[in-house]
Symmetry: C2
Subunit: 386 residues, 2 copies
């Protein structure tokens, strides 16, 4: 299969590219290297020393003999180049990661809110619009987020994208299946709920085949492909803006920095290991919707944990203390979370769950590269309220 | 009260500006004159000869002694100028019309889809973001559309923005009030459903006070203010992209052009006269939400009609024939529509309904200016499907 990965240089994008290439697909990367440029702006690098794209692709060629093409373009601005690329390459599928993906970064300043909105919404729309104009039947796999559902506790097991409700009309109730009511907690999350409306429209009006993956918080760094060569290593973010919570804790443990739990740590979140992220995307590509089907929506998560429980596990594993700090976010202090994920399980996903062995592995990466850590970047600086 | 009207040069914006000014408010117009520039692009002008902004404002000053300030800026691009304007002027309220407002135009070509998305979403977001950064407590009144609800017949009286549903959880049902599930029928309508998510987020996170008005199809041209001087005349669009259906019919009748009914004409739509539009906006400004209240959502409509019934009324009034043509839109051929509008009625709106007298008035405007009509612009050219 021929697959274009938009955003194929990022934390999820890069290991996805390698996984799909390894599996025998012809993979093309489109990226404007925005995540590397944000590193410059935030004055903070990936803990792991990531190689330039040219070196990454050369290494992959050396190790596997496989060629991956790379186009540096801004999907949100270069509509005509996106269209031309689709017409030239005629891909079977597109994986769309080309969005600013950090909630804290999206709340950091007005400038960053505006960038996130402008980038994410135009990128998604340009891809959909270009597919229609190309006349090609390309399956779009998009990375959404569990955050579109919000985290309000009400005893409901979060379904996969759609919610069955009863609408009272006169004396009786009408059964209706609706897009789960959006309840985004940041500008970043808001753009993902808006993406869902683009998908609904282009699916309805133009019959586009779309799969939207609502992913949990990703942890881990490497996959079987990224460890094949030092130049293939994936990025590892530990800072308050881009670091995902478990990776931040493991990094903090490696340098004996008390774990920064926000508030009571009573927030329950859904998680997935980066190895499962790439497998889920492969499964999604291999199981496209039929023409005429509504948007497929899967929850891309394997387990849920309360943040303070994660901190406890890491603390017990490493001996580092836990340090609750004021929550910079505006969110419920405590919530339950129960998430449906049977679609991926039924497609054959065998979840990689949180075990001490895996935690140890990530901890070792943090240990190995801890001298590259800038301690000033650990505490969160983005606040939800001005 | 001091009010900034973003998009104050357009079909709804201009009469709103005059109405608010007449009522004693200090009114400031912000507009990039995009609607006039689209006229150039479409090679089609308003049937009524509209004056340049400078002449409009000079005429208003002559007739009423009132001064209206005007700033030419692109709200979707000039964030810093928007912010500076808010800080300088400290308005009590903002009326936000600064969006591309025609569904057919938004479906005309990929370029126009992209423009509509980029313009509408960034404009709305820039205004909200600037209010938060300014630290001012400014009430935002936004023009939404009835089209966010979609037009699927299911026997439900369309509520005002929110829908009460029951969510089955285990053995029992949980009552929940949700944003009415979006079902947009064009890119233009999609952007309005996405705006609603911006409002929800900024209301939740930052406590912004927002009123979203889901307006029906507007008809009519003049208000008591726009007839005070020829230079104050409002625009009247009769073309397939920007002409609203009833105004198109009245224009077609004036030149004895068979009425272009799309498909069976079985579509039922909600309507409002331009005189009521401006009154509704005044009512919305005068009745802002309290701090901490959810977004207020009103249906800004006064009556519903089936399109073929409207055609029949105009046909009987004028003797012109009805000419059903292929529907360029992708929509249900026939639908029922029952819409709640009690909020505006309870605030004192006294609806201007469709009567022969009023139809005659608009028909007279069409008669008066019919020599300005370009017959080649009457048939729709934008198609929903490529």
């Amino acid at each position: 299969m021929k697959v274009i990965v938009f955003g194929g240089d990022g934390f999820c994008g890069w290991p996805t590219v390698l996984h799909l290439s390894k599996a025998g697909n012809e993979v093309i990367i489109v990226d404007n290297l925005s995540r590397r440029k944000i590193d410059i702006e935030l004055e903070c690098e990936s803990l792991t020393p990531i190689s330039p794209m040219g070196s990454r692709l050369a290494a992959w060629k050396e190790v596997t003999g496989k060629t991956i093409k790379f186009f540096n373009m801004d999907v949100s601005k270069d509509y005509v180049r996106v269209l031309d690329l689709l017409k030239d390459e005629k891909p079977d599928a597109i994986v769309h990661f080309a969005e600013q993906r950090a909630a804290p970064y999206s709340m950091r300043s007005p400038r960053d809110k505006i960038y996130t909105v402008d980038n994410n919404l135009n990128a998604t729309h340009n891809i959909l619009c270009a597919i229609v104009e190309s006349g090609l039947d390309i399956h779009v796999v998009h990375l959404g987020t569990m955050g579109v559902y919000g985290y309000t506790s009400h005893g409901l097991k979060i379904p996969e994208g759609y919610l069955d409700v009863k609408i009272p009309v006169g004396e009786k109730d009408i059964d209706s299946r609706i897009l789960y009511p959006a309840n985004p907690g940041s500008i970043y999350h808001t753009t993902k709920t808006q993406d869902a409306l683009f998908f609904q429209f282009y699916n309805n009006n133009d019959g586009l085949r779309i799969t939207d993956l609502h992913q949990g918080v990703v942890w881990g760094t490497n996959t079987p492909e990224t460890i094949l060569d030092d130049r293939l290593i994936n990025r590892f973010d530990y800072d308050g803006d881009y670091g995902t919570v478990l990776n931040r804790f493991l990094m903090q443990a490696a340098i004996d920095y008390p774990l920064t739990v926000y508030g009571t740590g009573g927030q329950t979140r859904a998680f997935i290991h980066i190895q499962d992220t790439v497998k889920c995307i492969e499964l999604a590509i291999s199981n496209p919707p039929e023409k005429g089907e509504p948007v497929h929506i899967y929850n891309q998560v394997t387990e849920t944990h309360r943040i303070r429980d994660l901190a406890k596990i890491v603390s017990e594993l490493t001996g580092v203390k836990v340090n609750p700090i004021e929550n910079p976010r505006f969110e419920d202090a405590e919530n339950e979370l129960d998430v449906e994920n049977k679609q991926f399980l039924s497609l054959g996903l065998n979840p990689t769950t949180l075990t001490e062995g895996l935690l140890e592995e990530v901890h070792e990466i943090a240990q190995k590269y801890k001298d590259r850590c800038d301690w000033d970047k650990i505490l969160p600086t983005s606040k939800w309220k001005v």
